[in-house]
Symmetry: C2
Amino acid sequence: MTLKEKIKTEEKIILAAEEIFLKKGFDGARMQEIANKASINKALLHYYYRSKDKLFLAVFRSLAPKIFPPVFRVLTTDLSFFEKIEQVIINYINLLKVNPRLPLFIMSELSKKSESIIEIMQETFENMDFNPLQLFKEELQNEIDKGNVINIDYQQLFVNIISLCIFPFVGKPILKIIGFENSEKEYDEFIENRKREVPKFIINSIKISK
Amino acid sequence: MTLKEKIKTEEKIILAAEEIFLKKGFDGARMQEIANKASINKALLHYYYRSKDKLFLAVFRSLAPKIFPPVFRVLTTDLSFFEKIEQVIINYINLLKVNPRLPLFIMSELSKKSESIIEIMQETFENMDFNPLQLFKEELQNEIDKGNVINIDYQQLFVNIISLCIFPFVGKPILKIIGFENSEKEYDEFIENRKREVPKFIINSIKISK
DNA sequence: ATATCGTTTAACCAATTGGTCAAAATATAA
DNA sequence: TTATATTTTGACCAATTGGTTAAACGATAT
């Protein structure tokens, strides 16, 4: 049972650490709180992960791949370009509904602790078995050449798509205040509607009707 | 000179505190560091602002109005709807080029420390002498009625515009990695181009050509 | 000049925090 | 069973941190 228990403990720690770091960030997180959440002694945290830094890096390494994610795998399928855009958006919004704190966490930490974290992020992308941006660029150019899509810069369009998916989650607290009378329910509906509205909005903008 | 000096000290403190809080967030900021940056004794910080919390609230109160900002005052002018959209975007991007850390700061803190900060944010909007979202809603409806613009939900469009402006700044660290080979210069050009590309993108999507 | 007021400082404090250590408990191997 | 290796714990530590205090300083008014 040793090995099994060990994995169990390590896993318990990572899950607890994820939850606390996601909610409070590196600076706001307390080792004691993580230990409590994992139902273990604080010394045991340091037994498995020697320092707060190391523990954080482990957590970050496990979360990093989720933000820029499986979502883009649709690009490798044989759907049409517009269908792919639609699927990416729907998948992305669904992912973020399950992990609403992920983007703010990644971006906050990425903008403070540089070096080591940036490296992890870079490795994460290098380790992907396909290059989303490259695929996107080629497919877009293809559609432009065929006269289906207006001549638009692939980086601009790519960032537009990502922005329209992620920002409503990052900016939720402020958007709720200014536009939704602080109502959680209204905002959830709004997000749900975006699965339809965002693809429409984007395709409207770039599609050439014949 | 007493009064003048006092104002000067208070101002020095707020400026230093803004810089540190913006860069490190509430949890990461140190009172000692703020004191150093303001070239004063740490005890003097507590003389003017009794606690870290109070100081932070003062800083937040002074920064909050900037995020959702003068930028929207164009809505009160007599420009055309499309010109207004264009101006809002250009102004917003210009503002964020000067205060790139502002959005991430506001949103990070807003998503952690609730209550008091959320109240400040709400007051900030209530104290504006015009209601951007309401104006936007009416003008949009007007354009829809005139047949100039497709039938689109004002909340969706409003969030779209804000997303396309803010997110490239919030997500800069990660976007730089995935799409710009970590080049600061390339990314700056990309942002600069957005002043043209984003208005075009939006208007393309909603405008009805006759 | 001096008493009075607000401002500034150095020294200090208590609480928190990340981290250590030696011993206890538990599992594994002989 | 006994010896050995691994895992878990409670007690402890040094450093940091927000915050306090009493004294010094400086300007102003009388």
